[in-house]
Symmetry: C2
Subunit: 286 residues, 2 copies
């Protein structure tokens, strides 16, 4: 069963960091005007505005919050740092619940300073998921573990492939821990189609691990630090439609969130950027 073009567009969500130049009210207003029905939010601007006020603002604009970015950073071995990280993640769960989203994106964290022990760091992520999962589920929030591109393995995220993320998630109930499928991080991997099917589970949605589906394109050259070089949809190397079809085939019917970190987009008028995203989404995803 494939969605009609209109139906697919109903699933489009705009991640706030894509139009960082917009305040929260501008974001709500801009999305409502463009007919975009979902937004992905980030903790810092939500905290600044107030979670309850942000929830009201978005709801009054007729939008839903599709995800909150982000918790995570769970690899510190030091007990004090670890306890602080868990506390912070419980606060993130509370914020997600206040915003009415069921999805908290987690970026696992990189290697602790001086460490070379990737598998040890991954085990600490698993331990933390075990601690946080029940707390989140009780509040109607699912932890969405996001594999990041391997170029971030040292300093940001020791979970680098969808297979790894699923290996971790599957230790816990599907209602507690899911995964993020983000084209920017996963496009290069020749096993990703197989892993998306695995993430879909039985395909009826009940046991699916796909908690979020995010889009950005891959463009080169990478900027210094490799963080802010994501491409507008259609500008790069990623076969976005192929990904959407694989995620569809795995039974996913949730939001499709556009998350592009790119200073060139931030320098432009937000309304123009969003209009371009809607246009590119129709052409390259629908």
């Amino acid at each position: 069963m494939s969605d009609s073009p209109r139906c697919l567009l109903d699933r489009l969500s705009l991640n706030q960091e894509t139009v960082r130049q917009w305040s929260l009210p501008e974001l709500a207003d801009g999305c409502a005007r463009a007919g975009v029905r979902g937004v992905g939010l980030w903790r810092a601007p939500v905290q600044e505005y107030g979670a309850a006020a942000a929830a009201r603002l978005v709801r009054d604009a007729g939008l839903r919050v599709t995800s909150l970015c982000r918790g995570g950073f769970l690899t510190a071995p030091d007990p004090g740092r670890r306890a602080a990280a868990l506390d912070d993640n419980r606060a993130a769960v509370d914020e997600a619940a206040a915003l009415g989203t069921d999805t908290l994106v987690l970026v696992s964290g990189g290697l602790p300073p001086g460490s070379r022990d990737l598998s040890g760091a991954r085990e600490r992520v698993a331990d933390a998921l075990g601690e946080l999962g029940p707390y989140a589920a009780q509040r109607g929030v699912r932890l969405a573990l996001e594999p990041l591109h391997p170029m971030y393995a040292a300093d940001r995220c020791v979970v680098s492939t969808l297979a790894q993320a699923l290996d971790l998630a599957e230790r816990f109930p599907a209602g507690q821990v899911g995964v993020v499928v983000d084209t920017y991080h996963l496009w290069w991997d020749d096993t990703v189609g197989t892993q998306i099917a695995r993430a879909g589970g039985t395909g009826d949605g009940a046991a699916s691990r796909i908690a979020a589906f995010q889009l950005a394109d891959w463009v080169t050259p990478l900027p210094e630090g490799a963080l802010l070089g994501r491409g507008q949809l259609g500008d790069g190397a990623v076969d976005l439609r192929w990904f959407r079809e694989r995620v569809d085939a795995a039974g996913y019917r949730g939001p499709i969130e556009v998350e592009i970190f790119n200073p060139a987009l931030w320098a432009r008028d937000g309304t123009d950027v969003l209009a371009e995203i809607v246009d590119r989404f129709r052409t390259h995803v629908g």
Copy 2:
């Protein structure tokens, strides 16, 4: 059976690009003085010096050429470009033979401009290996297919993991096509230990696919373009000794080549850089 420290140091080879500030005569002299017995060479400086003269220079210094970098760039679909790439790779094989090395490193090439078809590009690499393998083997040279870090998948190398490289190499006789195990490109992958064992074959060396073993460390932040940010041994996130032990356990007894692209090393005195490499090699690899 593990090598003694001295024996391991006998296997150390210095890739020329690590000390780009050195001319070929300086490289030969510097390695001989430092007791380093192998060098990895690059085509451009060898062509400039003359392959026969370079071979003589290196031999007279008591060194062996452990690899020639590099052929490859075999993903163009256009027949004219493809023929030119194959011709250029045959020339690279001839240069490797003239230098007396049995190892030609191949970087497969990225996506053609405007293409998003990774699997098509990978198939063209396989076709090219089939064409070049017999030509190389007749000249005593093995093609060493190098998986590069996934951050290069779009613009440089569509072969991103050791598993992918082995999937391609295993279509051809082990004497024609092997793989490169380079710590910088592979360190993040939780399947790499399994894949190194697979590459070792029966462990007696006869069917091994490990054609080269190269070392560099992973340091952050990545520089713009992500090409010249490799770290000195011991400065980064890679467990180099773990890799060396895995490669040992897979039966590999060949050269261990240090290949670091880093302008900070190029700005220093080459002799100091090489002394530091030997020291770091003892500490972090041996």
